[in-house]
Amino acid sequence: MNQLIVSTAPHVKTARTTKTIMLDVLIALAPATIAGCVLFGWQALVLILISLASAFLTEFVWYIIQNKVWQGGKEVVNAFFKQFDFTSLITGLLLALIIPANIDAWYMPLLGSIFAVGVVKMLFGGTGRNIMNPALMGRIFLFISFAAMTAYPDPNFGALFESNGSLMTGATSLTSGLAGEGTLSALDLLLGTGVAGCIGETCKIALLAGGVYLCVRGVIKWYLPLIYIAVTGLFAVALEGFDFTQFLPSILSGGLILGAIFMATDYVTTPKSKLGNIIYFVLLGLLTAGLRKATGIEVVSFCIVLMNLVVFLLDAAIKARPFGFHKEKKVKADTAKEGK
């Protein structure tokens, strides 16, 4: 007879674990990663690998030091692989996808990953405890530290403004579009051909494919990225005096689609309730369109991180309303008044 397991109900559990969810995210990022490598060449691949490796090693080193590897030895290493849930790899990959494919700045993904995983994630307590999205914080860290963050090399396909192969500085289609000199068609923006930008954000069709995969697998809810993208587009249209030609360029440019599907939907940094999530994504859309108009640069990463900080307020404000609650509305209102 085996040793009996005694635990509280329920005695069956879903096969879905944190690991399988995170693996799904990695799979969903594959099309965008491949598209990035195709559009920007081997340089993009090298940067992605640097970023992945440094993100993984940061968590590994952090874990073994935290768990006193000099005492536990091999057991600590085994324990690390047992609990490793791929979140650092997602952070590393996402960070690589939101930096330019500029091989001269190979140190950027390295430093960014170390900052993202070490400071933003592990310092706050690891998986599930980070207050802000690690990959976006890594990007912002690089953005305010290095000028190379805004030097975008040419993609391999499609006509660019200048096709001499030199680095173009500060001219993603969004910034030029915001300045009123956009020349790219919506199809180019969708496929990422001829679009300067970060490694993973230019090929929208690959990102959308990943998004559809995540929705089908039930990792994210389909309406949340949709709310974000639609609100951003519509508010941008409204800000331009209801010029509907602005709709497609504003949703297809910059990092909006990548941000909406992979960044803003990060479980840890979104509200817990359904209502909270809807409010969050609407506010995010308004903020993104508004700040884009006000600053004239791409601000998706800043907007998401700003909204990450509002999550706690939303969670505190929205309370559970149990099934059968409606009959007690009146009583609840009275007690609320007494509380004040």
């Binding site: 397991i5 069956v12 879905r16 309303r321 059968g324």
Partner: protein, 430 residues
């Protein structure tokens, strides 16, 4: 079938029901019961008071313990023989309960009550239900005679044939094999309560049972296969469209819910005068050779059930009841009670028992909670021992303890357990 899709409520989970293991096995009698260990408390409320002495001869169906107060239930001898002892016995769940131990003499001597006349009125039926010691056999064990006398006016009796717990097929089998008796039992119950409308809710994964009841005068409601469909509040909602107000009883929504097994027991008590002394128990799981539905006398040792179905060596978890709400056993001790619906022997890959990992705030627990609570908030604040906040942000007291949150949690966190802890702590303070 009226509705192919079946009626459903929002949220809840969809489980692999595993019922095919035992759903085709007809009910068979449990053999080899030489000793019955009958607990005095098999119901919610005060334990019954023992009225027999060691050494006394008892017949099958004889009263051995009397209800103590209103919310309590009579207990009867389930085998004929000699009372060996009245003592504390381990219940297999880590506790001890006071039991009457009867050594069977192998005879079939019975001492049933006189059958009620056909024209018996509601009060007589209600009194008979109390005499027969009938309690809710779905799992809660609330004394039925208390339930049939609601404080407010009700207009509908719902028979619960949902059986939404995976593995369990005992209700399914009796719905097929004893259809007419269940219908008559329901009619007696309706008479006792004083209602005309009887509805039976059956999940779509039991199409044969739905077909059987469509030939009877009862209104059949086909339910989507969804957990926890058998929860009183949700069954009422899908069958009648009424929501039971928070913190109130089903009677406040004008409904009484009874399990099909309870209806069968009522029929037997009224027509044969037979008290509640046996019930059907599903013995299932991948850890047994031949899953079966056994009719077992109350107090039959669980080891006898296990012996009749031959337990395999790779069973690592023994569960009394369903896999979602039942309790894990510390060993094969304990006995069948009025509320034992199943005895499961689960293998390691069925139980999927992993260590919990950190919460990633995915919100799945809140998405599936049939009561629309926020289990992750409750768990967070319960771990911090801040039970007031756990209730404020999570909503603790409305929890029906269905376990859907723990089931779905990808981090395998014991959410339901945390809610139960918070509930107990909050009740202590009140």
């Amino acid at each position: 079938m009226k509705a192919i899709k079946g009626k459903f409520f929002s949220r809840g989970i969809h489980l692999r029901d595993m019922k095919s293991l035992s759903s085709a096995a007809p009910v068979e009698q449990l053999a080899g019961v030489t000793e019955a260990v009958i607990p005095l408390s098999q119901h919610i409320g005060k334990p019954a008071v023992c009225i027999v002495e060691p050494g006394q001869q008892v017949k099958r169906g004889q009263l051995i313990a009397k209800a103590d107060g209103y919310v309590s239930a009579n207990v009867h001898a389930s085998v004929a023989g000699t009372v060996k002892a009245v003592e504390e016995r381990a219940d297999g769940r880590g506790g001890k309960v006071r039991c009457v131990v009867i050594e069977s003499d192998g005879s079939d001597a019975t001492d049933f009550m006189a059958p009620l006349p056909e024209n018996a009125d509601g009060a007589a039926i209600a009194a008979r239900i109390a005499e027969a010691g009938i309690v809710g056999m779905g799992g809660a064990g609330f004394p039925t005679h208390v339930k049939v006398k609601p404080a407010v006016k009700v207009d509908t009796l719902i028979l619960n044939g949902a059986e939404c717990e995976p593995y369990l097929t005992c209700d399914h089998r009796i719905m097929l094999e004893r259809t007419d008796e269940i219908v008559r039992g329901a009619q007696y119950l309706a008479k006792a309560v004083g209602v005309d409308k009887i509805v039976i809710g059956i999940e779509l994964n039991k199409p044969d049972a739905i077909a059987a009841f469509e030939k009877t005068p009862l209104n059949v409601v086909a339910l989507k296969k969804q957990y926890p469909m058998g929860s009183e509040k949700h069954l009422i909602y899908v069958c009648t469209g009424r929501k039971v107000p928070l913190g109130k009883l089903p009677a406040d929504a004008g409904v009484i819910v009874q399990n099909v097994a309870t209806a069968l027991a009522v029929c037997e008590a009224v027509e044969q005068g037979k008290p509640l002394i046996e019930r059907v128990v599903t013995v299932s799981g991948k850890g047994v050779e031949t899953p079966k539905n056994l009719r077992a006398p109350l107090g039959a040792p669980l080891s006898a059930l296990a012996a009749q179905c031959s337990v395999k060596d790779d069973a690592v978890k023994f569960v009394l009841g369903g896999p979602m709400t039942g309790s894990a056993l510390t060993g094969l001790c304990g006995s069948v009670t009025k509320t034992t619906s199943g005895l499961l022997f689960m293998t390691a890959d069925e139980t999927n028992a992993d260590e919990p990992t950190p919460c990633i705030n995915c919100g799945r627990c809140a998405d599936v909670c049939p009561m629309k609570l926020m289990p992750m908030q409750t768990e967070f604040y319960t771990n911090a021992k801040d039970y007031a906040k756990a209730d404020q942000y999570g909503g603790v007291l409305a929890c029906i303890e269905c376990g859907a949150c723990s089931y779905i949690c990808p981090a395998h966190r014991p959410l339901a357990q945390a809610i139960k802890t918070a509930k107990a702590e909050l009740r202590k303070k009140k």
